[in-house]
Symmetry: D2
Subunit: 430 residues, 4 copies
């Protein structure tokens, strides 16, 4: 259809609004962004909402850290609900709890800044701007806990807007625009992409990459997963990442290994996409590749050694512990052999038994077990990168997803804290 892109249209609308805004800008220099926000919430906002919203976004983007703090404090102090009105509405509800008093209370309680944020969303690329605002806000929050109500409003809206029903799954491959691929460099945090050759290998015919996109953030992945199609369960990461390994034929692969999952948008923290992505990608791959029988991860075990340090175990003496801190201990076959069994056992125990508030202490384990996966296998010398040696003495773990057991595992985990694990790993953990 021969029409302009949304952003071009938005640009032109906003351009037209320039004259309207010329005199407003002067005012804005005086009263600042607050008056723009008040205007946007007023009836005036109905007539020139797009232009006002754009102005607010531009002003925000030009702010330094201190000004941003002030902006969020403004949202907290000036765009909060009125306590009087809330209490009065609460009284009315107490007297006569019916749909009308409930609605009135509900309206009294909703902070005006929620509607303000909704209207800012009308700006060109407004959704991206709001996600960026929340990213800033989350960074400021530790120092400004008073902003937690403001943050809650951002989260509430983004949770509603980034509903699974609005997300689009897309495959990413070598035919994807370079501008999108480039973002993977930035967002890949599990196993960093080492340049375009590495990128290309990860998108070769025996690899798959899928991402969720939102229509209001074109070309901007929200989360992506990298998958290797193999003929057996991967037990080490380096072979998967070997840029020079020849791609194999995907159509005979029996095993899909999810070796990296990355959330991309700091501004969407706490709005979870991972479970939906994994489940949908499993479904997709199963439909396209009837030979695939096993869907598993190859996952890091981030907190193992930190936990180990604090542990007093018969299985590993101080000598053993000290060894782990030596560089290249794993190249010494004898020492490595002697450590192998105790470490595998301890790791199994760490993953399965070590809990806090009823859940495993390991964050990656919590994610996959909560999704309904089970612990399948712990792999010795699976990642000999310095980071993995430091975190997990080089071990990695496979979590397996079986569509038929996902729900049962999930329920058992959620309701009773049951950790699903293979017989082997359970034996190790004893």
């Amino acid at each position: 259809m021969p029409h302009k892109s949304l952003s071009q249209i938005w640009d032109s609308i906003a351009d037209r609004g320039r004259e309207i805004l010329a005199r407003r800008r002067v005012a804005s220099a005086v009263h600042g962004i607050e008056s723009l926000c008040r205007d946007l919430l007023s009836e005036r906002g109905e007539a020139s909402g797009t232009a006002l919203a754009r102005e607010i976004v531009r002003s925000y983007e030009a702010m330094d850290e201190a000004r941003k703090e002030q902006f969020f404090q403004l949202l907290d102090t000036r765009f909060s609900p009125a306590a009087d009105a809330i209490l009065q509405a609460a009284d009315s509800y107490r007297e006569a709890p019916d749909p009308d008093t409930l609605l009135a209370l509900s309206r009294a309680v909703e902070p005006p800044r929620q509607e303000l944020i909704r209207r800012i969303n009308m700006a060109p690329r407004g959704t991206a701007a709001i996600v960026a605002m929340r990213k800033d806000l989350l960074r400021l929050l530790p120092r400004h806990p008073e902003l937690r109500a403001v943050e809650a409003d951002f989260q509430h809206l983004l949770h509603s807007w980034f509903n699974r029903g609005f997300l689009v799954l897309e495959r990413i491959d070598w035919h994807t625009p370079a501008a999108t691929l480039e973002k993977l460099f930035e967002y890949e945090a599990v196993h960093e992409i080492q340049g375009w050759d590495d990128m290309r290998r990860r998108l070769a015919e025996d690899r798959r990459c899928f991402a969720f996109f939102h229509p209001a953030l074109p070309g901007e992945p929200l989360i992506f997963v990298e998958v290797a199609l193999l003929d057996s369960l991967a037990t080490a990461i380096q072979p998967l990442l070997d840029v020079d390994s020849p791609p194999s034929a995907a159509d005979r692969a029996t095993t899909a290994v999810f070796y990296s999952i990355n959330n991309c948008q700091d501004g969407l923290r706490g709005i979870s996409f991972g479970y939906f992505l994994i489940k949908q990608v499993v479904t997709e791959l199963a439909a396209d590749h009837p030979h695939l029988k096993t869907f598993a991860t190859l996952s890091p075990i981030r907190g193992f050694r930190a936990w180990l340090e604090a542990l007093d175990s018969d299985l590993l003496d101080q000598d053993g512990l000290d060894t782990l801190s030596e560089p290249d201990w794993f190249r010494d076959d004898a020492r490595a052999d002697s450590l192998r069994e105790p470490l595998l056992k301890l790791c199994a125990r760490y993953l399965i038994k070590e809990k806090k508030d009823g859940e495993p202490v390991d964050p990656v384990a919590r994610f996959h077990l909560g999704n309904g996966a089970r612990i399948e296998q712990i792999n010795w010398f699976a990642d000999t990168s310095p980071k993995a040696m430091e975190q997990a003495a080089g071990m990695m773990v496979n979590y397996v997803y079986r569509l038929k057991q996902i729900e049962k595992n999930h329920e058992a985990y959620v309701s009773r804290g049951t950790v699903a694990a293979s017989a082997n790993v359970r034996a190790l953990a004893k």
Copy 2:
């Protein structure tokens, strides 16, 4: 990109969920949709939310009117917030009004059905299902005023989801898929489309048609406007709708006449797109056609004769009034001439001076004046269709949109009830 469409993917996900749901379906036959809804809101909903949501949508779609009523009553009685919790949270807030007590109150007040609706949105075509639910609910509301809180929740969510920032403007022309064009037949209510020849004429090179779409409702227009590109202001509708009129060259047109604007989705009633559409289409046309100088409507005057009947005016005696009820009076030149001036005057008065709650009584006038347009010209014998003769004695009115005055007009209208009108029309109204 060689991947499946979203709906195919959703279908396949939900297909996979069948086994999971087999036993649930039995339960559903017993406890019905309520237990599905409870499951969807529970932790279980996290594991098989898509499948559960689909099940709820399917159950709903199979319901007759009586069952639908019960469903909405269920949402009212079982998925409302707990009064106790609200009052307790209100007390806490009263004692210590801080971010935490506010958030707690806010959560207590939000009806669980809001999150339920959000999760139903995860179903394949879930957004369309929710819009359809609200359509049903609005139809039931007059007989079931107790459901107004439920309705308010639907509206609240749809208002947030159908934010202007998420809408996409698309031009509709003869290259648009037939499946989308077909919907215009259904949705065009101002000047009905009389078959495909009429459709084609309305999409010819001297016509424009634009619609807003939402990414979650592909191919489904939310609102559309039909525009004629002319070399002078249109003073009558029949020539515009003449299927046999030869299309003229668009590139020299000086005047864009918006002759029909239609909201398409009953389920989105009260969520207004009209203003944004007009403003954006004006902007678009101005950019593409530098010769265009005037942007105006040719609009019906729906309530004029009903108002006139109840009026006691010197300008028109009972005889005159009676004439208007005769068929074909307008074909009698003498009588028509004698009525012309008094009716134009009365019509100007009706549009400009006749107000209720500070706003014009005519709904179309309220819409365009509220958007910042001004009344330009009242046209005699502008629409001689039976409906228009019945409603407005055949008169129509042009509202003109001038980008530079839109905001000023809007503000004057909103704050002081000022009706913008040309000198001519104002003179008539005196």
Copy 3:
């Protein structure tokens, strides 16, 4: 990619060439299109070929029939190869037949108008213009047999350009742009489409429509086939074309019936696409619908009654023949019953045994048998439309395509004139 469409670009190039062409146009009024053609073939043509080609196309399009004749005669007389040069090149080749003398002869023989047509193709929509020229030329040919060499050059080029390797198969359905669907009305000649309701029924979920397109003729089908997905072999056409018949589920269909195949472009006559289309559509459908077992046509028998009239057969006396000319004879059960067997037998004989130059006299039979299909079944009262009663006494025939036998049938047909037919039909023909 945000770039202009090819036709927009071509337009703008040609617009830029206007100045260049201003003075040329004067000349063109004098020497006419010939000088434009000479210029286009000269070095000057390299610098402003697009503009010149466009000018030629425009001039041509403005011509009446007489001028078009002159134009083609011009191509014949002024853009033919030089006899002298040909004979001289032939002599050189005779003396020393080597690559160089062959190439020289080849160049001497190729008419300059071939390169001229290639350069006209550079005009905006040049390919469409050339196809239109050939359409005109074919219409003129019977009265102007001297133009057959010119026509041969057009055919030669179009045969090369519309190579199967450049064609794109596309499915046509209700989501196809209306502008393309509209063309089907024009091109459907087997069973005329009776309006948009009929169109929609033919594109419903138990129907398929596929067309070949060429990239240089966007939105313009070259040939299309309409297919019904059924659960048994169709024996009559009217039920298939019933607008009010409820669509059935396509996914359980066992039989695909090709009930209409239409060539769309008169200007491409003699360049055959039908075989490729059928074979590819069979392949496509087989891949998408694993339940499909039978691929067959329901085809007219165009020349049967004309052949019958001239026949002296024991099977049908003059009385029987006369009956066929009476209106509505088929509504008289007794007469119809008495004619049934003799007509089926005669029809089988007509299709299988009646040959001319070693091929069946029926053109539709020649097409499908030549493609490797076999005659499966002759259907009594299969098409009671006046045309079909007139041509074939209401009978139709199924040709069946079996992928595994296509080649064998084709070879037997081509080399030995063998007509593949089912045992039943062969028995009838005895």
Copy 4:
């Protein structure tokens, strides 16, 4: 439209043809590719042409250099026209030169391999295979001059198929698929792309890149041009290629500098796209950027120093010549200054006056002058890369394209050998 890609379709067609081909393959092992070719040309080829063509392509692709030679020799010896038939047809034409004898001669002269190549084009990716064959053939030609008639047939067909009217101009930018961008690395031969950072800089907002594509070679550029949008004429290449230079705003640029033009397909050598590309890109840029006033190249001067070595000129003594061979002479200001004027003069003379067969000896000059450009300015120290120092003592030249003068310049150049040059350069050349 939900249909398969052309290549998927082709694949599936060909897959279906496997059985058909099973027994043929045995034969092919015996009689080799020749019998496949004969089959493809025969009637059998009509029934299973796609499968046969694919088989030929596969066989070819598996061949080593020696086998390829044999294949082309086969085309030469077995698929050439019959000398007897040619001579006989020539005699008939001599006796009665009319359309029929001409057509008969024309058919006798056309080598059967032309139709064979057309049919090979029906294979999946057949066009790419034919382009690859010609690439091989051109490489073999110097050693096998007897294949020049075969080569002429390939060229003839590709010239016809890659007609300007079938090419599509596309802009290449950072949103282009990585798979296409990757090809630019391979094809950029003027100023090599130094990695993805360099690529990205060349596609930044003050750069443009356009390419021609053919619909049968998706994602495969035929020729591309790189353009810098600047505010003055570029006089040196290194600043343009500086990866770290900040992009400037394109919308105020006054000058478009075409700094690299590359043909991509060796197999299309001699089929020229360059002129069309430049002219169309100039037109495109002019339409999109009304501020652009100057369209110019920054071009290498490849043969200058080789020419200079052989020259005996007063302007430069042997000492001067020797200096040019020293490394880094240009870093010595004094020596450089002394050489500047004589070299600029000699270079002007080289470009303007030094001719062979009536055309400038410099190949780049011939290309741009033949396109209608004029020599604008010779730039001292414009490219200090070793290659450019070696070829042109670091000088580069701007050719300017003015739409209004292109045709005039082209004609003067072609008909009278006139070299268009600015007054400055002409003065230097005196």
